[in-house]
């Protein structure tokens, strides 16, 4: 569609509420070398940062080092994924490395059987002699031919996806008899990308009921070939590519699923790229009930005239519905979509940290009625602004830049941004574990939390 081919000339700044960013004291110690990403634990007040051949775990309470994972990889660790549903007092994560392997690591709190594991792990003395002994490198996943760029656990923890410069995505299944039994097998090797696969992300669990072929267990991958691909399991254990999302004009550095979709809508997908844009994609769901009335299909053109049996061949129809207003001048390396607020944060080579919000286009402005001037209408016809889309009766929502922070890491590039809960002492006690902050990770080896104030 037209909106997918160019971005707006002027970034719209919302006139409503603004958002301010304040740098909080950064995590100690400095890493003094490029750090690639920092991934918060799903429940515990911990965040794991990949740098060189190691991972440093920081406490979100003390903003200092909790433990270090080292000695498992021969080359840089590029990505980290926490295993969901690890038992209390235990931590488990996977690292993806430039040495072509993924490593599974386990950490067990010794001498504590308390169920209150979170506090214990968070306040542990970082100078402890046992620091490095607690992490055990328990399993190596081998198979990729070159650097692993990204690793991701499916929401249930049963599947792990890895991707590599070798253009493939691998899906691994946990077949261990118990949580501590580390046995994994390869269930799929997906070879359809034409370039390095830069990132993988699983569709999150949502409230929606299982809607037939749009079931959960859906994986998205982003590539150097400028595309995003969507993968599903076909019911017979085969993983197939159900959609290719084309539109980016440079490497797609990453993808994020909408963490909290409206109502029972299928989660949207966000992708960001070397082309300095962030795109939002939406699944066009076909109503399953229509399948029972095949005669109706011939009343429509295109896909609907294809016989029913062919339509069963699992193809998703995805559409680019938005391009976020332009905030960046160089590669966008990372973006994050908040589950709590719906805000999106992005960062990259230009060192800018930007925040966007999706809101109604303006007071009383509905779809089709929003052209104040001829110029605006022409801009829409030229494809400079998105054409009207899906919900004709509801106010059109639009993305606005809420704030931009240049030089988020001084002169350095910023490699990663994530949303994460606050547990630090400067946070009011009643807000701990509730208030969200941003954490950025840069080429300067600094891991920096940001307070987000409306």
């Amino acid at each position: 569609m037209a909106s997918a081919t160019s971005h707006r000339r002027c970034p719209p700044m919302s006139s409503n509420s603004t958002i301010q960013l304040f740098a909080l004291p950064h995590f100690k110690p400095d890493l003094y070398e490029r750090a690639w990403q920092s991934i918060p634990h799903p429940h515990a007040p911990l965040i794991a940062t990949a740098h060189h051949k190691s991972v440093t775990i920081f406490s979100l309470s003390t903003l200092s080092s909790h433990s270090t994972l080292s000695g498992g990889h021969e080359r840089s660790v590029r990505s980290i994924a926490w295993k969901p549903y690890a038992t209390p007092n235990k931590l488990c994560l996977v690292t993806g490395s430039f040495d072509r392997t993924a490593g599974l690591w386990r950490w067990e709190e010794e001498g504590h059987s308390s169920s209150d594991a979170l506090d214990i792990t968070a306040t542990r003395d970082s100078s402890s002699d046992k620091e490095d002994k607690d992490w055990e490198f328990t399993l190596v996943l081998e198979g990729h031919d070159s650097e692993i760029k990204s690793v991701a656990f499916a929401p249930g923890g049963q599947y792990l996806a890895t991707c590599s410069r070798d253009k493939s995505v691998w899906i691994w299944e946990d077949i261990g008899a118990s949580e501590s039994d580390d046995e994994w097998e390869t269930v799929a090797v997906l070879n359809e990308h034409e370039g390095d696969v830069k990132a993988v992300a699983w569709c999150p669990e949502t409230n929606r009921r299982d809607k037939g072929r749009y079931a959960p267990d859906c994986l998205a991958s982003a590539s150097y070939d400028n595309t995003v691909r969507i993968w599903r399991e076909d019911g017979d254990g085969e993983w197939v590519c159900v959609a290719v999302l084309e539109g980016h004009e440079g490497t797609v550095w990453g993808i994020a699923w909408e963490p909290r979709p409206e109502g029972t809508r299928y989660p949207r997908l966000m992708s960001w790229s070397a082309d300095c844009t962030i795109r939002v994609w939406e699944l066009k769901e076909e109503d399953e009930e229509e399948d029972k009335e095949p005669q109706l299909q011939y009343a429509w053109g295109g896909l609907r005239s294809i016989p029913n049996t062919m339509r069963r061949s699992m193809k998703d129809e995805w559409e680019c519905t938005d391009i976020l207003p332009k905030a960046h001048t160089r590669d966008i390396y990372s973006a994050a979509w908040s589950q709590d607020s719906g805000l999106v944060a992005s960062t990259g080579s230009d060192g800018i940290l930007a925040i966007y919000e999706e809101e109604a286009a303006g007071p009383g402005i509905l779809n089709g009625e929003r052209h104040a001037t001829d110029a605006e209408a022409n801009a829409e016809l030229d494809g400079d602004v998105p054409m009207t889309n899906r919900h004709d009766a509801t106010p059109k929502k639009q993305w606005y830049i809420k704030t931009t922070k240049p030089n988020a890491h001084g002169p350095y590039e910023v490699n990663h941004v994530t949303w994460c809960k606050r547990y630090d002492s400067a946070c009011p006690p009643e807000r701990k574990g509730i208030e969200e902050m941003l954490v950025t990770t840069g080429d300067d080896g600094i891991v920096r939390p940001w307070q987000v104030i409306r």
């Binding site: 070398e33 840089s76 070397a274 001048t329 590669d331 001084g410």
Partner: protein, 199 residues
């Protein structure tokens, strides 16, 4: 060897600046890392340089506000050796002063956090040069080591000089690929040898 008889410029034909005060070269954490990775044995330090790196270093104390200009960028990369000839990229006219562009133009009192883009268009000696990527990588690594962290280095093949421009340009622009390449022993060895003539 792809091109056994390249055109070679003499030292007198290379662009220089006489008696120009040199600038401090800032080493950030990233370049410290690169330096560690790229550390070379002393015996490789052969003087192919018309500008000595040591001279620049020794004048760190005379730090002036003078901005880094195209000539200085040229001086940093023209002394890199070609991976297959024992000749510098300047002498081979792979790097040329008019093909270096600094944006915004150098000005005296810029904020050290202001991003400055250095665009270098390289001209590989023959159109099907399989080593174009390695040469480009050498230029990028050299500049990233030597320039302050607010500099962003873009290395591209000069239009029409190479048959797979886009492919090479995309690789050279990919930070993750460049980082991984520096951890590859074979490539690292080649780059070490190329950059050894810069000091």
């Amino acid at each position: 060897m792809d091109n056994a008889n390249p055109t070679i410029l003499t030292a007198a034909q290379l662009p220089t600046r006489q008696s120009k005060a040199t600038k401090a070269v800032v080493q950030g954490p990233v370049s410290q890392l690169s330096e560690l990775i790229m550390r070379k044995p002393k015996y490789l330090s052969e003087p192919f340089c018309d500008v000595s790196w040591h001279d620049i270093r020794e004048k760190d104390n005379d730090f002036t506000e003078e901005p880094i200009d195209e000539q200085e960028i040229y001086d940093l990369i023209s002394t890199i050796s070609d991976p297959e000839h024992p000749i510098s990229l300047g002498q081979l006219a792979v790097v040329n002063l008019p093909d270096i562009q600094i944006t915004p133009s150098p000005s005296a009192h810029s904020d050290p956090d202001t991003l400055i883009t250095v665009l270098v268009k390289i001209t590989p000696t023959i159109t099907h040069c399989s080593l174009a990527t390695v040469i480009g990588l050498g230029v990028r690594v050299r500049l990233e080591q030597a320039l302050p962290p607010n500099y962003r280095v873009d290395v591209v093949i000069k239009e029409g000089a190479h048959s797979q421009d886009d492919q090479v340009n995309k690789q050279l622009a990919d930070k993750e690929r460049v980082a991984a390449a520096l951890e590859n022993d074979n490539l690292k060895g080649m780059l070490d040898a190329m950059l050894a003539t810069c000091e």
